[in-house]
Amino acid sequence: MDMRDAETGKLLWESGKWGQRMLREEMQARVPKEILECRAVSRELNFTSQEEIRQFRLEQRIFLRGACLEEWFFDFGFVIPGSTNSWQQTIEAAAPEDMRHPAELSGKVTIETSFYDGKTLIAKTLVRVFYV
């Protein structure tokens, strides 16, 4: 996973490979706080699949102190067996006032991503974001 300033393309944060560990534990992302000032931010998710998947989709929710701020549903449909794929979302930040205070937000924002094949849950990940 990585995050960028969508207007300049500048890479702000990159997770490296999390692999299987990501599915068992809550992961932590230490992101530079300047990301809160970007007019648009993009997040990219990379994944590989050995198997063919027919109706791959995901649901992603961003929570701030447990309240859902943002929700993305995305239908990928078919996933090619043995493929490496990426999904980049660009969001224009209409950040509310309190989004501007990194210290208050740090550790209170979580990104929950659930992956499905049709109706069957395949995997779920949780990333907690710290602004540093």
Binding site: A6, E7, G9, F74, G77, I80, T84, N85, W87, Q89
Partner: protein, 188 residues
């Protein structure tokens, strides 16, 4: 103009627009999309599946699908045709050896029912190379004038320098907006 600017120019009559980007391997599809997002283009690997860029602006979404063009991946292209609003077909203008092959692949796409009437933008990429064929030559060589069942346009470009990318995107916006206007009139 980046993809964000493109999104801001699309009329918001439909909730989503989908652009499909295809072409032979090594044509420069991924490089074009990265260049349009101002990302680094120096270390791009061949695409072994899909790369999707989703952009959101005021509840309106643009999804751009870039699928790998290697021979082994091409049979899977058909899984991604549904609900396409515009097709971008990328050609490596310097790859004369495979000009016929790329023409055949394009010809097959244009015969697909699911892509019927979908506007097609052909990027004649790598115009920065000395050996690149000009867009006119490609039009001639691939008989593009025989395309009559949809809007089409060929645009010379270089993903390396960024030249021509914007002009191509402007054309796409106009065509997607035309189509959604036509649908609106049909409903009324």
């Amino acid at each position: 103009m980046g993809l964000l600017t493109l999104l801001r120019k699309l009329k918001r009559t439909d909730q989503e627009a989908r652009i499909l980007v295809l072409g032979l391997d090594n044509a420069g599809k991924t490089t074009i999309l990265k260049k349009l997002s101002e990302e680094d283009i120096t270390s791009i690997m061949p695409t072994q599946g899909f790369n999707i860029k989703s952009l959101m602006h005021d509840e309106f979404k643009l999804n751009v699908w870039d699928i790998g063009g290697q021979k082994s991946i091409r049979p899977y292209w058909r899984n991604y045709f549904d609900q396409t609003d515009a097709l971008i077909y990328v050609i490596d203008s310097a790859d004369k050896r495979r000009m016929e092959e790329t023409g055949e692949e394009l010809g097959q796409l244009l015969e697909e029912d699911k892509l019927s009437e979908v506007p097609v933008l052909i990027y004649a990429n790598k115009q920065d190379l000395m050996s690149a064929m000009a867009p006119d030559e490609i039009t001639e060589g691939l008989n593009l004038h025989t395309i009559r069942d949809r809007p089409w346009h060929i645009q010379g470009c270089s993903a390396k320098t960024g030249d021509g990318l914007q002009d191509g995107m402007e054309w796409i916006v106009t065509k997607i907006n035309d189509a959604s206007r036509a649908r609106g009139e049909e409903k009324a």
